[in-house]
Amino acid sequence: MTARAGLLRLACPCRGLATNDSGGREIANEKQSPSLVEIRDLHFAHGAREIMSGVDLDFQEGRITAIMGPSGSGKTTLLKLIGGQLRPGRGSVQVDGKDVHRLRLGALYDLRKRMGMLFQTGALLTDLDVFENVAFPLRAHTQLPEAMVRDLVLLKLEAVGLRGARHLMPAQLSGGMARRVALARALALDPMMIMYDEPFTGLDPITMGTIVALIRKVNDALGLTSVVVSHDVKETVTIADYVYVIADGKVVESGTPDTLKRSSSAWVQQFMQGLPDGPVPFHYPAPDYASDLLGGA
């Protein structure tokens, strides 16, 4: 299916946004498709602090792969490493068979044209309206006539339900709308994959449901490969085909959402169920409570 046909399918009669849970599972149950992204022995450090220490990941074509983990576990850093915005200390990131960090700048930019990214804040250009934001990558990388740019932009905006908001400025958008516009912009060049950085953070339940459904529908309708970085367990497992849980710079568990729910790891169970105490203690390390209280007397 071509990307444009997929967009029309997304935007046309079946544009209801109810999540089709089975869609993702079907893909998950199919025999393994080839990996679009292969990460091997990835090491990355900020100064003396090691963020990634020997991480191996595979993101298979057509799937939604979720990277979950607590705040500060390096999830966003991982996306920047995949996009070539950061260089690893060791290891490799291959996207569509190309080693991202060995590419020259021109080749890296060519690869990025095929990788969409949705930032946590939307990262819309604040001096451009919604239409121009979505048109931005088209104008930057194509010589399409204005009429075709207009059609494409309206097609993308219709897919995210914001065709009517095309004249609004980013400051006039809610957080959820900004992310939907950013998604339309990420789709502008018909990428092969999209990376979502914390797409559910700070959204109301309705907007969150909209974004959750959009990620699934966009992925399936356009035949994309999606990588969702999030610490929102409930929303992420409803759409993910495969989940990696990372903590302390390592992959601590991976598998389908159902596999993870049955994990024997106490840490994974605490994370998946959002328990306040467990292997990750509620209390910050401190001396004995009683002696601490009596010590002041």
Partner: protein, 261 residues
């Protein structure tokens, strides 16, 4: 104590030299991106409006008052020597050689330079620059280079306007208020202010200040920590560094240009 002080001094020097190195490499990237702007002149035009046209008010008003003060002070000094007819020369030379480029650049740094730093810093803090990179658009070419070029083009023009308005301010006070002969005011200015030695050197100064002020502004914005505090600090540093750099370069350029004086 002494050792700690020396260590601190060493760290500061190394940090300063490292930052200077980064600023130079950054400048090379900006200059490499400049030829590409020929394909997108609209980006530069928009920035010329933002940093140049919108700075006109402060430049014109400041130029007028500086010229008027020069007229007053110059008249009070020259009249003691019976040389008040030379007021036009004094006002024009002061403005064209020194006050025009220096005050113009200081005002530019405070108004347009700080705005450039804040804008680029905020774009960084809100991930707009990262977003461009991921859309395979070089933010140096799209955001930084147009602002740099606009600053380099705008400042000399603003300085020329500052000096022209200043001369008129001096004329208003000297001729209109204090009774200096208008013919002497203009004719002495015409005969004593030389195109190459005075006007051209003033233009060279304003171009150098334009490069320095714009370079500092875009670099500090691009290097800003992506937080509100980081942007605030970058804006402050832009104004401080621009002021110091302009005054320092003015001394060097004056020494080189006006040796015989």
């Amino acid at each position: 104590m002494l050792l700690q002080g020396l260590q601190g001094l060493g760290r500061s020097v190394i940090g300063g030299v490292t930052k200077l190195g980064r600023a130079n490499l950054f400048m090379l990237r900006v200059l490499a991106a400049v030829p590409g702007l020929l394909r997108t002149p609209g980006l530069v035009m928009a920035q010329i409006y933002s940093v140049g046209v919108l700075s006109l008010l402060i430049i014109v008003v400041s130029g007028l008052f500086v010229g008027m003060v020069l007229g007053l002070q110059g008249y009070n000094t020259l009249i003691g020597f019976g040389a008040e007819e030379s007021l036009g020369v004094l006002v024009a030379l002061s403005l064209v050689r020194e006050l025009g480029p220096v005050v113009g650049a200081l005002l530019f740094g405070g108004r347009a330079g700080s705005a450039m730093s804040a804008e680029i810093g905020l774009m960084k803090a809100t991930q707009q620059l990262s977003g461009m990179e991921m859309m395979a658009v070089d933010p140096i070419r799209q955001v930084v280079a147009p602002r740099f070029v606009a600053g380099v083009i705008s400042l000399p023009l603003l300085v020329a306007i500052f000096s022209a308005v200043g001369v008129y301010g001096g004329y208003m006070v000297g001729v209109g208020l204090l009774g200096v002969d208008a013919g002497s005011f203009w004719s002495q200015m015409q005969s004593k202010v030389l195109l190459q030695e005075d006007v051209l050197n003033g233009v060279i100064k304003s171009v150098v200040f334009g490069v320095v002020a714009s370079w500092i502004a875009v670099f500090e914005g691009y290097e800003a920590a992506p937080t509100s505090e980081g942007v605030s600090r970058a804006t402050t540093r832009t104004v401080v560094y621009t002021s110091l750099a302009v005054l320092g370069w003015d001394f060097i350029l004056t020494g080189l240009m006006f040796k015989e004086a």
